[in-house]
């Protein structure tokens, strides 16, 4: 673990009801699709966007007599995720059947891990600002099968079922009810997504449904949550409702806010919250009950008789632990300490592992802060404007590093550097060669600059008189000289000469 002072907890979100203030209590179940080639229990492909029902083995289609055989890599991915969340790894875990009927679940049950999950308690630190962070406890992570996909809008009377996703490995990552507001919930999902992407255990693509979550929301009076934290007794908290299947950060926040207000209105009206499953309708901006799910909630779990308990060895876990990548929190702290970056810049650069790797190459052997400015402001700004990500950058880290080194060495001014960046971005080429070939080198030769300063002073006697009365106007001369030099004169040298020549 990192040795840095524990951040202050953020204030919980408070909603003013008609009668009193209310606080929110939120827990999340995140379903993260395991990044793997083949499914959890079959040799069929996990590739997204394939022909319907082409990535389906007879095991996935639940043909009689088929038996599941576990994909060891998926197990390793779950262990890696557990280690990344500083969680306990269970050397013995077991699979259970969760029974329900739905057309996209041909087995009639989902193989999951109810009683003995592979990963136990861990923690995610969710930063909500400089020095402010929520420590969210992870209760467990278990491995399970994904279901297929039903499409309801291709025919007026029929639903179409595609089993390509059936049996793909999912990690269900369950938090404790430690999240206290809609923004925190979104920040938690973002942080978890970032860690999973660093680990390479889930691609985090929310649009394709590779990361989606169920949100549990309840409300309580101020003070009640602290009693729960002291005793871990849920009776201090309100009755919760579960909002199913959210795959957008924005909708997660909207749904929580709506749901909390709905519950407050019921309780203040003397009513009772019924524990139930709800769906968020983004068009109407409201949650509604999924009554049809209620009976199906009798899942009649029992140990899966097709699968022996999953026993893994400590040495195998240790080997995975020994090959872990640097995680976001560690990387960010290192960027702050080693490169002297601000908390904000370090956060931007470590948001994605690819960005951080790019930056480190740019900063190699030169000024880290200057490199950070160029990566964030010039490169990211430009890429964002054109809708590219870092992998599509026409400027390689070596090229940008060369530009930064030219600035640092005083060979080019900051202004010329922007022109140079533009040339490298659009035309490519070696920055140092471009500077030489196109005469972009900064003029640091004081005699040359002196001549230009003398000329400008001689041409503008009226301005000279004004500047002598008001020294602030000396800047006008500096500007004129820089302009005359085509931006190549060293601004510091020009300022110094102008001040001296004007006798200020």
């Amino acid at each position: 673990m990192l040795d840095h002072p524990r951040a202050r907890s953020p204030e919980p979100k408070v909603i003013a009801g008609a009668k009193s203030d209310w606080e929110l209590v939120i827990g999340l179940e995140v379903h993260a699709q395991v990044a793997s080639n083949a499914k959890l229990f079959s040799g069929a492909s996990t590739l997204f966007g394939s022909e319907p029902n082409s990535n389906v083995a007879f095991v996935d289609a639940a043909m009689p007599g088929m038996l599941p055989v576990i994909n060891e890599y998926c197990v390793a991915q779950a262990v890696r995720t557990g280690l990344g969340l500083k969680a306990q790894i269970n050397l013995v875990s077991a699979f259970d059947r969760k029974n329900y009927f739905y057309p996209d679940l041909p087995q009639g049950y989902q193989i999951s891990q109810l009683y003995q999950p592979i990963v136990g308690e861990g923690e995610i630190i969710v930063e909500m600002g400089p020095g402010v962070a929520r420590h969210v406890r992870i209760e467990r992570i278990h491995l399970e099968q994904d279901a297929g996909k039903s499409i309801h809008d291709m025919d007026p009377t029929m639903s179409f079922v595609d089993l390509n996703r059936t049996g793909v490995a999912l990690m269900e990552i369950v938090s404790r009810p430690d999240i206290r507001g809609p923004e925190e919930a979104a920040a938690y999902v973002a942080k978890l997504r970032q860690i999973l992407r660093y680990l390479g255990t889930c691609d985090g693509n929310m649009q394709n449904g590779n990361l989606r979550c169920d949100v549990n929301v309840s409300v309580c009076k101020p003070g009640a949550y602290e009693k729960y934290q002291e005793t871990q007794d849920f009776s201090h908290l309100g009755t919760r409702c579960e909002i199913k299947n959210m795959n957008s950060m924005r909708f997660i926040q909207q749904a929580i806010d709506y749901e909390a207000r709905r519950q407050i209105a019921i309780v203040e009206d003397g009513g009772k919250i019924i524990q139930e499953t709800r769906l968020y309708d983004p068009d109407k901006g409201e949650t509604r009950s999924m009554r049809s799910k209620e009976e199906a909630h009798d899942y009649r779990y029992f140990p899966c008789p097709d699968l022996l308990p999953l026993e893994i060895e400590q040495a195998w876990v240790d080997a995975i632990a020994g090959a872990m990548p640097e995680l976001p929190d560690e990387k960010k702290l290192r960027f702050i300490n080693d490169f002297g970056l601000s908390d904000y810049d370090a956060g931007v650069l470590t948001a994605e592992a690819e960005n951080a790797a790019y930056f480190e190459k740019v900063a190699e052997g030169t000024d880290g802060k200057l490199a950070a400015n160029w990566v964030i402001n010039e490169l990211f700004g430009r890429l964002k404007k054109e809708g590219h990500d870092i992998g599509e950058s026409p400027v390689s880290p070596e090229q940008l590093g060369a530009i930064v080194r030219l600035i640092k060495a005083g060979d080019i001014s900051g202004k010329i550097a922007k022109d140079l960046f533009e040339i490298v971005y659009t035309e490519g080429g070696d920055p140092a060669e471009i500077v030489t070939a196109r005469g972009m080198k900064q003029v640091t030769d004081t005699t040359a600059i002196e001549a230009m300063v003398d000329e400008i002073i001689a041409q503008n006697p009226a301005q000279v008189e004004k500047a002598k009365e008001n020294p602030k106007l000396a800047g006008w001369f500096t500007g004129q000289v820089l302009k005359a030099s085509g931006g190549k004169a060293n601004p510091a040298a020009v300022t110094e000469l102008v001040t001296r020549k004007l006798g200020l």
Binding site: G43, S45, H152, T157, F160
Partner: protein
């Protein structure tokens, strides 16, 4: 514990097994019989004993993360009562 007719009806429905109303009392009786046998087994003290999952000591078989299966849409759909455009077609289910 004994199973009453309502519980038998519910269990049958959850398992999607059609049981005529007239057969429910007999079914409830059979289920109750099974449960009372279980209760008898529960009298044995198994404190500290790991549940036995296999007669011979065996390790759960693993597969490598390699695509070795699939790619036969027509065979997957061949038993479907209705299939269209590569999909199983089922009576509409909308939440």
């Amino acid at each position: 514990m004994s199973i009453d007719i309502d519980t038998a009806r519910k269990v049958a429905h959850l398992a999607r097994i059609a049981v005529p109303e007239a057969e429910l009392p007999a079914l409830a009786g059979e289920l109750s019989g099974i449960l009372s046998f279980m209760e008898q087994l529960n009298e044995v003290d198994v404190t500290g004993i790991e549940p036995m999952t296999s007669v011979t000591p065996m390790r759960l078989k693993r597969r490598e993360d390699v695509v070795t299966d699939g790619g036969y849409q027509a065979r997957i759909l061949s038993n479907a009562p209705d299939a269209r455009e590569g999909f199983f077609a089922v009576p509409k289910v909308v939440e």
